[in-house]
């Protein structure tokens, strides 16, 4: 009987169901903490653990969902392309800001990991935590990190960034919408961008651009340094 869970339909259906529940909950509570992805991961994990279903069975379907990550990342190009005009107009601040931001993120993670005595695999899993999930997973994997830890750290950072954004803008006295948007995107990728969009159109566009630019910069820098 247990092999019914090995059908790819099981994993896909369970993922869709839990994601749908997550989206419903967020719509009801309107809180960033109720991130649909986080809820879906939590609920799916609970179901697997409660019914003692091995991850490998679930992953028969999971692998099919996973396959869509590459095309989804590719489509980030579309969101960059639709903002190409703003990118050209603010080329220097965007490139400088995203480079410094990515370096600061990776450097501070590395330093703190040393400080807390975390091992190499853990460090590699956390270093890409400020960039968008699909690229972060690739960076983690190619440096021997633990992909699920990266996914959790990336989502958590995103939620954190979107909660802290208005506070950080006041704390560091950011009065320029271009600066605010880029800073939000650089530290908290897509989850932060949805918050940036609430602050204003420029903030949202800049934050969206920072996702792609910081992702590329982090890949290149991690290849050179690690």
């Amino acid at each position: 009987m247990s092999d019914v869970f090995s059908s790819p339909f099981f994993g896909i259906a369970l993922s869709i169901l839990t994601f749908w529940i997550g989206a419903k909950i967020q719509k009801q509570l309107k809180s960033v903490i109720c991130n649909p992805l986080l809820i879906a991961i939590l609920l799916t994990s609970v179901v697997l653990l409660a019914f003692d279903i091995p991850y490998e069975s679930y992953n028969e379907g999971g692998a099919i969902i996973n396959m869509f990550l590459t095309p989804a990342t590719a489509c980030l190009a579309v969101s960059i392309y639709t903002k190409i005009q703003i990118l050209k107009e603010n080329c220097i601040p965007i490139v400088v800001g995203c480079t410094v931001g990515s370096l600061a993120s990776m450097g501070s993670v590395w330093l703190l990991c040393r400080l807390f005595g975390l091992d190499e695999a853990m460090t590699a899993s956390l270093i890409p935590k400020s960039i968008t999930t699909p690229i972060a997973m690739e960076v983690c994997q190619s440096h021997g990190g633990i992909v699920p830890v990266t996914v959790i750290a990336v989502i958590f950072t995103g939620i954190l960034g979107s909660i802290l954004a208005p506070f950080l803008i006041r704390l560091f006295r950011v009065d320029n919408p271009v600066t605010a948007g880029l800073a939000i995107g650089a530290c908290s990728h897509a989850v932060g961008t949805s918050r940036a969009l609430e602050l204003g159109e420029t903030e949202g566009a800049m934050s969206g651009l920072a996702i792609g630019v910081c992702g590329i910069i982090t890949v290149v820098v991690s290849m050179i340094l690690l």
């Binding site: 879906a40 190009a77 807390f116 997973m137 530290c187």
Partner: protein, 122 residues
């Protein structure tokens, strides 16, 4: 047929990116290669947004869904998380603030320098 064609375009690009990834001497992720390829195709006019609009809207709008299996894999690593939850939490909070500050201040400095140069030109 329209959606199938769009799937075809994107998946072909992804496959070409995988080939390039194999050929490259360095470990550059195929997904980022695919993204750069698509951006080049759009900028040179080889592809129009209309060629891939529905498919890319679908993927971008539902992006988060595709991370569920990777995240659920965490059930195989619960002991690592349990052993390290405090440093993980602290690292995420501290580095998020540092990243925000570094980005904001570097841009502020850049804009100021650019403004000064423009002023000097006049």
């Amino acid at each position: 047929m329209k959606i199938i064609k769009q799937f075809g375009i994107i998946f072909s690009l992804c496959w070409i990116a995988t080939v390039i990834e194999r050929l490259l001497p360095i470990a550059f992720p195929a997904s980022v290669i695919a993204m750069l390829l698509l951006l080049i195709c759009l900028m040179t006019g080889v592809l129009k947004i209309d060629h891939i609009r529905e498919k890319s809207d679908f993927l971008l709008a539902n992006m988060a869904f595709f991370f569920i299996p990777a995240g659920v894999n965490v059930i195989n690593y619960l002991d690592i998380l349990k052993a390290n939850w405090l440093p993980l939490l602290l690292i995420c909070v501290i580095t998020t603030v540092i990243t925000f500050a570094a980005t904001a201040y570097s841009i502020r400095l850049t804009i100021w320098l650019l403004g000064r140069r423009k002023g000097a030109d006049r």
